[in-house]
């Protein structure tokens, strides 16, 4: 059986109809991972034993007629900065090479309660700092569409594993685009929920005021199904909002008549590849054909989002990563005295990009720079939020390309950090404002996928999903795969 193209809905149907049992299904996926991951390198750790144990429990429950959870038996992958009890959680860093969390992240616990089976932990940029997964301590993950290109980052392993069919869906984290950018590069769906919609308990923080966990899936329905199971208040995360969680699957209605769509002109600027713009404009055309009212708008302060992000994210990271000191967890370099031990442990345990961001953040928080850069960035963040607030008084959603270009080649931007930063140009504004944003594949440019980004009001995931679902219904294929292209050619 070819399991690589299964969606959550299809997998659930196979299991419910007893066409396959959970252990057979998991074995088929493990076999597929063994066959493909030597090349793709999406997994840092495949959790075969735990997955088969969990599958057996599900098969036993089926035999005894017990009610099963909504994701029972469906295999997933988890980004390696999300804690999994007694399973290594490395953040793709030497610092945490042997870290075994004593608890599951809330998102993992909720998915396991729903019957999900974790197949393993997925590669990423070290501590989620990067846009290509080239900053992993372990190895580089390849883009399943073209092995010479990056899968994006920082959730590159999560996106590549879904695109190549090694898992049905995965979890990623998104601080400045780390779910949406790799999902767009790999031709899959990725959602950054509203800040506060999904618990961050057990997510190893990069920049806590912007981090969110979210799903990467093959289609929009799967995205809604995963969100249904991870959204909601968690008393262990004080930034998780205690507000109603709708049934996101019920939002999947093929109807956007009268939906007001804003098209922010700053997101279609000179830094964005005209061919990418062309594919997104065609997708907007489909939204219009379905009855959406689309018009150009402006978010004038979004052009400052990139520097604001780099100030805030590095300042938060430099403070948060102070806890990695070789005392309670992680690696340790032996030294004569305590401070020398801290210094050598951190020098040895962190990679160059993490060290750079810690240094930059510490420098920006210094007494001579704090107000000049940090306080200023927080104020400009308010202006960016205000732009969105104004726009959402007039529009239900905003639509743009997810990334300025398609996936780039390995090494192409490692020596050019400014160019690397540009790949997050269009995703960062949503993190600044804490709003939800989804990417949906909308065509190819020279054989590589393009993503359309849809942004919505805070806690407006239902509207995002409805718009994305409607587009998907009329796009011409259910989902795109690297082997088939999903029927979406260059000219779509």
């Amino acid at each position: 059986m070819d399991v690589s193209k299964l969606t959550i809905t299809e997998t659930r149907a196979l299991l419910a109809d007893r066409k396959i049992n959970a252990q057979e299904l998991i074995n088929a996926f493990l076999s597929y991972i063994r066959k493909t991951d030597g090349d793709t390198k999406a997994f840092i750790n495949v959790t075969e034993e735990q997955a088969l144990m969990r599958a057996k429990k599900i098969d036993d429950a089926v035999k005894s007629g017990k009610n099963l959870g909504p994701l029972s038996g469906v295999p997933m992958g988890v980004k390696d900065n999300i804690c999994t009890k007694d399973i290594k959680t490395t953040c793709a860093s030497k610092m945490l090479d042997n870290f075994l969390p004593p608890y599951d992240a809330t998102v993992v616990e909720r998915l396991h309660d729903a019957g999900a089976i974790t197949l393993g932990k997925l590669n990423m940029d070290e501590f989620a700092m990067g846009s290509s997964t080239e900053n992993s301590y372990y190895f580089k993950t390849k883009n399943p569409w073209d092995g010479g290109r990056v899968p994006g980052g920082s959730s590159g392993g999560s996106a590549a594993a879904v695109a190549s069919g090694q898992v049905v869906y995965s979890l990623g984290s998104d601080t400045g685009g780390s779910i949406r950018q790799p999902a767009a590069f790999c031709g899959v769906v990725g959602l950054k929920p509203s800040y506060g919609r999904v618990s961050r308990w057990g997510l190893v923080a990069f920049a806590p005021s912007m981090d969110q966990v979210g799903p990467i899936t093959k289609n929009v329905r799967d995205c809604a199904l995963v969100l249904n199971n991870i959204a909601g208040h968690d008393s262990l995360d004080t930034t998780s909002m205690d507000c109603e969680v709708p049934d996101y699957e019920r939002a999947l209605v093929d109807d956007i008549k009268g939906l007001r769509v804003g098209i922010p002109e700053e997101f279609f600027g000179k830094g964005t590849d005209p061919a990418v713009i062309d594919r997104v404009e065609r997708a907007i055309g489909i939204l219009e054909e379905q009855g959406a009212i689309c018009e150009k708008t402006t978010l004038p302060n979004s052009k400052y989002a990139l520097p604001v992000y780099y100030v805030i994210a590095t300042c938060e990271a430099s403070s948060g990563l102070a806890r990695f000191d070789g005392v309670r967890f992680g690696c340790r370099s032996e030294a004569e005295d305590l401070v020398s031990m801290y210094k050598s442990t951190r020098a040895e345990g962190f990679g160059p990009e993490v060290k750079f961001r810690i240094l930059l953040g510490t420098y920006l928080l210094g007494p001579e720079n704090y107000d000049k850069y940090y306080t200023k960035a927080l104020k400009v963040r308010t202006l960016i939020r205000d732009d969105f607030e104004r726009a959402f008084k007039k529009y239900d959603i905003l639509v743009s390309p997810t990334t300025p270009t398609t996936a780039f080649k390995f090494g192409e931007r490692m020596s050019n950090p400014a160019a690397m930063r540009q790949s997050d140009l269009l995703t960062i504004p949503a993190n600044m404002a804490g709003i939800p944003a989804i990417t949906v594949p909308c065509g190819l440019v020279e054989g590589m996928p393009v993503g359309m980004q849809i942004m919505g009001r805070p806690f407006g995931e239902k509207t995002l999903l409805r718009a994305a679902y409607t587009y998907e219904c009329h796009r011409g294929c259910d989902y795109m795969t690297p082997t088939t292209g999903g029927g979406l050619g260059e000219g779509v």
Partner: protein
């Protein structure tokens, strides 16, 4: 150059990071490259603008003051590089 180099060196000390002078040269150059874009922010008028520390409007989130089971001592120590007598062991402090 000298002043930013010294400031970044001080930052490395504050951040408890051992950084060689060669590494420092590279990091200082990268910081100089990115600080230019950050300097653009200084020209933006934010006179009457409040900073955004948290995008959520909710404040003061309370919970019931109840006791629940935390990590056991063994679990808390399991990942420690060095343990002695049920406690984290570190090199000499003074």
């Amino acid at each position: 150059m000298a002043s930013i180099w010294e400031a970044v060196k001080r930052s490395a000390i504050s951040a408890n990071l051992d950084v060689s002078e060669e590494e420092l040269d590279i990091y200082v150059q990268r910081i100089k490259d990115i600080i230019g874009t950050m300097d653009e922010l200084r020209g933006i008028s934010t006179e009457n603008t409040e900073p955004t520390v948290n995008v959520l409007s909710a404040q003061n989130i309370f919970r019931e003051d109840t006791v629940w089971e935390g990590l056991s001592r063994d679990s808390a120590l399991k990942n420690a590089p060095c343990v002695e007598d049920g406690q984290f062991r570190v090199p000499k402090i003074v």
